[in-house]
Symmetry: D3
Subunit: 293 residues, 6 copies
């Protein structure tokens, strides 16, 4: 990919490969360093960076503060939400591990993500996802009215609508995120990348298991609509704007409205990489064009 | 669709079939009972439930309070909006009847809707629709600048953009709702279900009657775009992601981009049920696949 | 397009054709006159109109005040944003010229736009675009963390996600606007009209020049997704719901998923008018239908 | 008192002498006319004047709105308080009659009071007193926790601390008002004027009737402290800074720390006018000086 | 003092005499029971009571929440203050013991204090004092800029101005509290009662030990001004409105401006009780009158 | 005054003696340096310090921002007030010179004032005084309704009530400030120090010149009440708690209730220093005691 003058984030950082605990400490140190650098260079933003990052003693405190202030309303106060987020995030180390994995995913996969702190503060997909993780925990603790109230705030504030019962893995990138809708019985594996306006929807008014099951390493393009209890296999790719009503086998690509498998139903082409990580949205174009036209 | 362990809202309540007046009283009693139960089980949410529901003496006061606090801004105060909503809702009993019908629609049709109070408090589609009903009333009273300011707040807060002149029936479910756009001369009949990202749009820069006319009992799938002064007949169904530029006869289904009638233009298949109420999004799949591929 | 009883904005105003400077003075006088008329007729809105328009001495002060109050949060105060907007808007006359051109575009092209003040106060597309212009200026001044923080607020508040590096011309109408996503290396020419849910997206995780280049006078229909460093020529038209992965020559129309040129790849039909200004979304329908079915 | 260049409010308006009902209508018309005049002359204040006065249809709505917005906090919302004030003020016509009498008192007695609207919007003594009247009504309805919560807000916001059980007549001027403290069993008659830092306090830790009883037409100077269940007779005057622990007979003046009657305990001088209305703070000076020194 | 029909708080509760830890648990249970009773009887207040008391798991959380929301401003956020208060209150058990002692003092000594929760929520003197305790702790930790910022907020919000360096014992009742000013080197012992407008002030522009030292069990009446590094002995009483520039021996009473000892300088009368606990403001009156007149 | 362990602000800074312009630049540099030091040592306060001081390019911007955020309400927005303050402060260099002189006065005269930034951010007397200066300017520009609205906000927020017509010199220290009341026709000279609860009040309901005229270098002790059009000569001192109804000659001291001149009416003692600058509150004690008792 050429680009000439464009080279915004040339140095994708080498993350250490150690255990989660160390990852988090390393990441938090990075975030504070980034925020300090930005505060120094931009006084108009320093107050924001101190209140959201630099005044906090840990990543979970910073994130709880930021989400509490983003999601609060006149009837759900920031102090209550801050307390809630901090309690939940502190009570389950897997939540913080997911935060770390999601930050890493955005930083590595999205060329527009210039720093970890940029993602932590500004990515509505990241923030909606972490809020969902807390709501999901509340749902599993049978605190459902609270989980649903939080769900509602996330949908109002970020325009991201993830039912608190939905199960989402880690290393997830919700890029741009506006308009994402994920239903109650949907599941998403690890290391997926999901663009804006993506729907993982149900099929009717009956309850029960009625939403898509998305595997690991899947890439779902902007505006794709996947309906019903279908399986999207590991490493699959769904083209932008597709309407998917069928199972998509592992490592295959589905495109179109209605979506069909690239390479044909019988012997679909196999993706060479992990689309959720490579973020390659368009390499199937020529094949698709051939197939369709 | 069965679902094994999933059975979130098994007991869709039997609503009494009486007159509207009684319906409202019954519903308001239900809502208060639900809120009281939730407040008892979840102290962290009790303050929210008391301020939004339990401190109010009627459904219209509760709704006016909630919308006033949701839609207010630093330049449009909550007290002003509360007053406005309460005056309008109290002045026209058909508005409250529509509130009741919409709450019933969400509760019956959406398996993720666990209670009436859940819909009243948390469903942005429901809240946007009731706010629109008030804006529409203002529009018809020739208070257009106020109607348009309210329209703008609804679009900002809920990401639901319904022109105040649009006419919408009752028993409407806007499910998920983010991204819905409905133009000035559009109309929607009773008992329709409309998913998120649906557009009922215009066709050009000329004024006049230029938006879709949607009949009763219609189901419009996620992301469908219907453009121009076309007619979507009673009981019709529009597939997710469809782009509809043609009339769709009653009880038929249109799918695809551009949308075509399932079963063919000449003798389209007839829907056996009322899609707006059955919420069956996908039963046409096999037929569609046959038709297209 | 007929319209019978509909005739909301019959008198599209004749704007004077002079220099920008005069345009702005004329427009600001119009806006104040409209606001005064509305304040007189609707006391409930007068406070809003005085605080947003009538108390200000210039268009840039009014706009800076309105955006500061719309985009502020508990960690980014309205006074800081007001100051920032006012400084940037006052420092570069081309920004205000673009404001004027955009207001004119909405008033002339959108039949639902009843007045300039209606657009200034209520159009999230207009407000998001002007906020982006300020963020873009900050980006070019190498104040990137601030530009990105502003970008994040615009995406939260308006559900419009335009990367601050994206270059956008003037005379732009973002109609409805919810869900618009425009990537870092995208460019848009002058006098374009872009509907809601439109994506100008990238193609992968590599940095560099990876987003669409849209010419002058282009019309992009609702929900269209354009991916990759493709060229959309001057006067081109993209149908609603299209997924465009190819270059679209000047004055041609692309529709469908995947999008193809109306009239065929080899000798596509030529648009007779400037679609970005005529807003004709659907005249290609019959041709398209012929082509596809 | 001469004054040369000073002549701020030369035209104390002649109020009509009719019944209360008419008074209120006349006064409300005056207030709206004043606010309209000020809004026209000062655009920076117009938004404030429209939201507090000009957008309302009655004096009680305007006052309820203003107090709701002044007294609200993050845990006691403005909408709740607005509703509460409006309900109480509308339910008991004697409350509104007292509002009218108090407005008239400020306008006639305080030369710095330039208009009725000035008092309605800006006089913390007036606003605290009307808030107290509402709290007192709640107290008498046995809604004591709510009355005490309101009491607390009044003390925080206006630094005026009137126990909700205290009984206060009408035609009262609390001038400047900061620091006024009035205990639970205190009573104040009609047409009194009470300056800032005045205390009507109790005497110990026993409950029961333990605070001063102030008659009609009394003037209490700045910083006066009156303690215990003593009687301050009709038309009495209490000098600034006095500490009063004794009964003060009607139409007499008490001054000093501890306070003694001017003219002597046995045959105190008789006030020639009604001090609460004449506001003559200092005519006793020469006599006092003679007496003491 | 009897009082006939007045009998607001007849049942001063018998507090258990145990250790602090138990006291706190007992008190918190009382407070929750009171709040639950009030919430049940007054729906309009229930939201307030749940958010401030009933949703919290401990007294320090409830108090931290309440103070955070009271003292916050647009530049000092409630979440930050909540966090700060909670950390400080949790880190030093003597602070919570003082909270308990102060609540008990108000309940026992102030007949207008109808419940512990009434004091916790509504008494600005109590709230200012606890805020000061936190500021004082910060001061002693050498976090002086933060202590002074908090001091400023306390003075703005409660009109109570206590320098963070001032040392204050426990079992303190600041009754009404508006206007209290306590300087940097002042100290106050245990079980004192201090009325509103009381000043413990300095004497000049030199630094150093320059403010009053108040012993245990002292009662200081409303508006008393004590200046300079003077000693007010244990069990002393200062009359309302006094100006004290001299030492006051233990168990004696000083009154007047300038203050003199009741009974005379040489052999002052001895107080029979502990004034700070008996709250007897006025029993010296006859003696004083005799002495002065 | 000794002080032993107390030595809070030993190093009263040597201010340069140059022209005002230089003073301001020097002071602003000091303030920024202090704020930077405090931000570095206290992360919890850094956000506050950046938003109020460190993000601003000048003292008047910092002060306008701080006052706008302190004085705003839901009906008088911070942006409007910020704009107003900045315009007024920028338009008249004498206002900023007074700001500088007042900051210097607090720093030099008040031993509890540890830094200029401490005064700028936290001293309600300083903030109320600067707000008054702006209100006074508006009053003189015949923008009286706006001046009075501002007056009301100052009185609500700071409990300092200065009529906008009152004329106040520079180099003023309002120490503690709560409860200060200054009437319409009062004047105060340069270099005065005025403690809390001081009243410069009027004498009746007639308009005209009816408030005290205070000369240069005057010290007025806490709780002093001065009533009527009396003259307090240059270098005079008024004892705490005094009630002054007479002229006080230059360089004399008045004390008591009612106030008499120390040393006697005929040949009052002469103050050796400038009390407004020396802040010596109590050196007259022995003389006073002799005189009175």
């Amino acid at each position: 990919m050429p680009g000439g003058e464009f080279n915004v984030s040339p140095s994708v950082p080498q993350l250490p490969a150690e255990s989660n605990g160390n990852d988090e400490a390393w990441l938090w140190a990075q975030i504070k360093a980034e925020a300090r650098r930005d505060a120094d260079s931009e006084p108009a933003l320093a107050s924001y960076l101190y209140s959201t990052i630099l005044s906090h003693s840990s990543l979970e405190r910073s994130l709880s503060f930021h989400l509490g202030n983003k999601l609060c309303s006149s009837t759900l106060l920031s102090t209550l939400l801050y307390d809630l987020f901090l309690n939940i995030l502190s009570s389950d180390s897997s939540l913080l591990a997911a935060v770390v994995a999601d930050l890493r995913a955005a930083r590595v996969r999205d060329p527009a993500c210039v720093s970890f702190s940029h993602c932590l503060l500004n990515y509505k997909g990241f923030l909606a996802c972490q809020s969902h993780r807390v709501a999901h925990k509340l749902w599993n603790q049978d605190r459902r009215p609270l989980a649903l109230a939080l769900h509602s705030r996330i949908s109002d504030v970020f325009a991201v609508d993830i039912h608190p019962a939905a199960r989402i893995g880690k290393g997830i990138l919700f890029d741009h995120a506006t308009g994402v809708v994920i239903g109650e019985t949907a599941t998403i594996g690890d290391n997926c990348s999901i663009l804006h306006h993506v729907t993982l929807g149900g099929t009717g008014k009956a309850g029960g298991d009625r939403h898509p099951k998305v595997g690991d390493g899947v890439l779902i393009g902007a505006g794709a609509t996947i309906l019903g209890n279908v399986r999207i296999g590991d490493g699959a790719k769904i083209g932008a704007g597709s309407v998917v009503l069928i199972d998509v086998p592992p490592r295959t690509t589905a495109v179109g409205n209605p979506a069909r498998l690239v390479g044909g139903k019988e012997k679909p082409s196999q993706n060479a990489d992990v689309p959720g990580e490579s973020m390659d949205h368009t390499s199937f174009i020529s094949e698709w064009s051939d197939y369709i036209i």
